[in-house]
Point group: C2
């Protein structure tokens, strides 16, 4: 049932950075090589590679090397894990609001 | 259209901790005082208060003090912001898979 807290920690941590979110957004459109992923960012390559490493360790992306080119692709399952957690929280919250509505309604009827 | 990156940074960062996620889960069921929120955690109060502070600065919770008791409640909008980002990513990804399906289908028909 609940995800390992450490997994969610790593996932949220990986997504708490604009460069890493931009890479996830780009890979949502299809696989890309390191150089293509790095291009939009005014950042030294080693720093950019660290971001890719954080994403890969969180399980959000995977990579494969062919010759001198490493290609990255999105792993959708971890994104679903985060989304599931968010959705569960929203449902809990909405249920509570519904119960509150009912309560107010009951109060009005009793008056 | 897109959220301020700094806002999403703070939100994901705030959710990247099991104690803070547990507080969000608890507050989904209704407001609670500091002491009630702290009870399940084997943690010194100052450390716990820091977690509440991170959640409040990210905008995920708000608090009000009555006498000596501070009560916290969930602010659902920021959770929706995170959920929206997740949903957008999933849609992009699914659209890409659909396009890929179509492409494979076309290849088969051409054969």
């Amino acid at each position: 049932m609940p995800q390992q807290p450490a997994t969610l920690d790593r996932l949220f941590q990986a997504l708490a950075d604009p460069t890493r979110r931009a890479v996830v957004e780009r890979l949502g459109q299809g696989p890309a090589a390191t150089s293509e992923l790095a291009r939009p960012f005014a950042m030294a390559l080693p720093s950019f590679l660290q971001h890719l490493d954080v994403l890969e360790r969180a399980g959000l992306v995977s990579s494969a090397k062919a010759g001198r080119v490493r290609t990255f692709q999105l792993t959708p399952r971890p994104l679903e894990v985060v989304e599931d957690w968010m959705t569960t929280q929203r449902r809990l919250w909405e249920r509570r609001l519904d119960q509150f509505d009912e309560y107010v309604h009951t109060l009005k009827e009793t008056e």
